[in-house]
Amino acid sequence: MWDAFVAVFARDVLQAWRRRADWLTSIFFFVIVVSLFPLGVGPEPALLRTMAPGVVWVAALLAAMLSLPRVFGSDFADGTLEQLVLTPHPLTVLVLAKMLAHWLLSGVPLALIAPVLGLQFGLEGGPVGVLFAALLLGTPCLSLIGGVGAALTLGVRGSGVLIALLVLPLYVPVLIFGAGAVEATVAGTGAAGHLSLLAAGLLIAIVLAPWAIAAALRIALE
């Protein structure tokens, strides 16, 4: 079972590495969206500093969502997904491996770039560190919740827009606690509570989301 987990994970990472442009686009999307906000609202440092956590997090939500159709899309098209379902290994474990690969390719780069963007918005060292930590805890939640939406919309008409409709409302708690952690640090109240809640949400998602994703995949392949 562990071998299967590693194999699926390594395969997804290798495939993504060979088609780098695919996941690099959503990372550049993230950078561009964040950079547009100062142009829209004006360059006052105080305003930008208060907006920074929210803007970075909303952009991260959108970028994570944009990369979702690829998680199962090509595997569904070429029949790999069917083979995965037919293997004797539990589908939940394989799904978890795929989501881990998705997080490594879409979530981790966002977390790594976000501190630079935070500095552009005038955040200081402490809040930037918290932003990084919050994104590291929050983006796996985004991948796992988004995976449910991706699996439900497999092969469905207009799945790109539909996925946004399904997934974005469910992202609300992650957005609130993620941005809240940074804001709390700026305000001086400490981010421990928010980060703990994000971690708790991540644990719940790790336990529940693979089941929902696996069930949705089986339905899509019926």
């Binding site: 919309t153 469905v156 799945s159 409709l165 399904l166 609300v172 809240g180 529940l208 899509a220």
Partner: protein, 246 residues
């Protein structure tokens, strides 16, 4: 004789039963609605703080109750359909969604109408309003997902999973929005419950809630009948019903 619990779980037997039940619930809804509105508009005393404008709560509060309750009922039917693989349960979930969405929209709409004279603003990012708005998004997502899948069986199951994921998330969303709200907002607006409510007000609200309940049941049964006819259009009993040659 053992009771046959599943007699009405078949669309064929449920269809005529629903047809007989609809008038009962529709009449109850109309009568209770008339009584409730009469109590609300003529019997209940004027609120000393809010004046006459508070009377919108007789429309607003039951709608807000129903919007949340219907989501739970919908998720329960969807789960039943997923577990027992009964067609009718999934149809009930599908039929409930539009009513729930309407209730959510009504709650938001009347809430903003009430907010303007009371708070001086149509919309505030209050915890309840925000979570109600997200609930509306969840309903819309559920309906959009089902509408975009052509195969009804797959649409049922996919919708069921989404409804269940949503049901797990609704409390999390509610509390996250609540904490977010207390962090952000000062004491400019508080939607705290008024300390005491005249008993006639409460009575009016409860009667209106019952009226909404009856209306929701009647509307859902009507919709489920249409869904049954649409899905079972190739079944012999539907052909007989329509008087078409076999």
């Amino acid at each position: 004789m053992a009771l046959n619990w599943f007699k009405y779980s078949s669309p064929q037997t449920f269809y005529p039963l629903a047809g007989r039940l609809i008038p009962v619930f529709a009449v109850l809804a109309a009568v209770l609605g008339a009584v409730g509105l009469y109590i609300g508009f003529f019997v209940a005393p004027t609120d000393f703080q809010q004046g006459e404008a508070y009377r919108i709560i007789f429309i607003h509060v039951p709608a807000a109750w129903m919007s949340m309750f219907i989501y739970l009922v919908m998720a329960a039917w969807a789960a039943l359909g997923l577990i027992l693989n009964t067609r009718l349960s999934s149809m009930m979930a599908t039929a409930l969604a539009p009513t729930g969405a309407v209730m959510t929209f009504l709650a938001l709409w009347t809430g903003s109408l009430w907010g303007k004279p009371m708070w001086g603003t149509w919309w505030a990012w209050d915890a309840r309003m925000t979570s109600e708005l997200i609930l509306l998004f969840l309903y819309i997502g559920f309906m959009a997902l089902q509408a975009s899948i052509d195969d009804p069986r797959r649409a049922d199951k996919a919708g069921a999973i989404l409804a269940l994921v949503g049901a797990v998330n609704v409390p999390i969303i509610y509390f996250s929005v609540k904490w977010w709200n207390t962090l952000h907002q000062g004491a400019s607006i508080s939607v705290g419950r008024s300390p005491s409510m005249a008993s006639t007000m409460l009575l009016g609200m409860l009667v209106m809630a019952l009226a909404y309940w009856m209306y929701s049941i009647a509307a859902t049964l009507m919709r489920v009948r249409s869904i049954i006819l649409e899905r079972e259009r190739n079944a012999q009993w539907v052909r007989d019903l329509a008087g078409a040659p076999a």
